[in-house]
Symmetry: C2
Subunit: 212 residues, 2 copies
């Protein structure tokens, strides 16, 4: 299966499929047709079939997909069949919010530690992990098999910290700093640029007013 | 100018242009060519020209774009020439993190209030605004010309709260609840589904390992 060629647009839709299938599963629903999935997800049935065909189609029968199977398979594709060890860099409001977000744990993202450069925070416990100094980061990544680092630090510091993480062998960076990072291709970066998202909302509000 | 027809993909790239132009402006750079912009932003120069042509091209001369002008124009398109009054629903970790994020204010998003259903939080001050009970939300939206509501509440509560906001005349919802909201088309919704973003990172890590 040549997953490498699957577009980021398709990949971007997988978590949403996974979420809706999880909800169907929780409701005890065993089978779903692409038309039913289309109705609840508000995408076309043909889009769904096309997306799933990227992964071999998941064996839809005349009477639809097996919900549990489809949920498991998409979970595997998303790499959720393995757990990930995650650290958070920056123990400010956002870092603490993410540390306390228990839902991630349910999906196998294990919160292993949190780091900050502010000595006043050292030792303070967040979700049972004490805040550690930045100097300890590299060693901690290596000895605890950390694969994901979450950056919730100012953009002026993000690039340098990212480089240190790269040298420590990190596999993925979840970047909340408002800057695009330059890292080698073996390190995956997923950006959450909150200001960009808010500006997009502002555009859509303003555009709707103009065109009504 | 028929902005209605501009694709969400183009719109999604505007904040990033705005951010890079702001940085050039801060560096005192007055003109930039699409090639220079291409180099720093790592998109093709032809993509940049194509995107800008949606808005009339911004009058590029032989020697490039005027940075200040382009920054202002894209800001206007994004609706950043007007300020927005914003409230946050949910005074948990994430709600507090967003309330304390001063950068939004710089772009004209004014934090006007924060609401929660937990009476223990009422009156607590966050960024100089006291936490208010949910019952006061509708009245507050109307009498304070609130146009954006930020939802940082559990997904089970988000839909009902969104409907109340819609009835109060809200124009936009910035939704951090892990659910897709059903609102009329005159209300704009921008989702930040953090779990989806983390799963996409997980996919890219897992896919890179398999294909190396």
């Amino acid at each position: 299966m040549e997953e490498k060629e699957i577009s980021q647009a398709v990949i971007g839709r997988l978590p949403r499929y996974f979420r809706y299938l999880g909800e169907l599963k929780d409701q005890g629903i065993e089978r779903v047709s692409s038309q039913e999935l289309s109705d609840i997800m508000k995408v076309t049935a043909s889009q769904i079939r096309q997306d799933f065909n990227n992964f071999g189609g998941f064996g839809q029968q005349g009477y639809g997909y097996n919900v549990e199977y489809l949920f498991q398979e998409i979970g595997k594709i998303l790499g959720l069949d393995k757990s990930h060890n995650l650290i958070i860099i920056g123990a400010g409001n956002l870092g603490q919010a993410l540390a306390n977000y228990g839902n991630f744990e349910r999906r196998g993202f294990l919160f292993m530690g949190i780091f900050d450069k502010n000595p006043l925070l050292y030792g303070r416990r967040i979700r049972d992990r004490e805040v550690r100094p930045m100097e300890d980061m590299e060693e901690y990544v290596k000895s605890n098999h950390i694969d994901i680092a979450v950056l919730t630090i100012p953009k002026t510091e993000a690039e340098a910290v990212a480089q240190r993480l790269v040298r420590s062998g990190i596999k993925g960076i979840w970047n909340f700093a408002h800057v695009d990072l330059n890292v080698p291709e073996e390190v995956q970066v997923e950006n959450v640029h909150l200001s960009d998202s808010l500006m997009k909302l502002s555009y859509n509000i303003s555009s709707f007013q103009k065109n009504r």
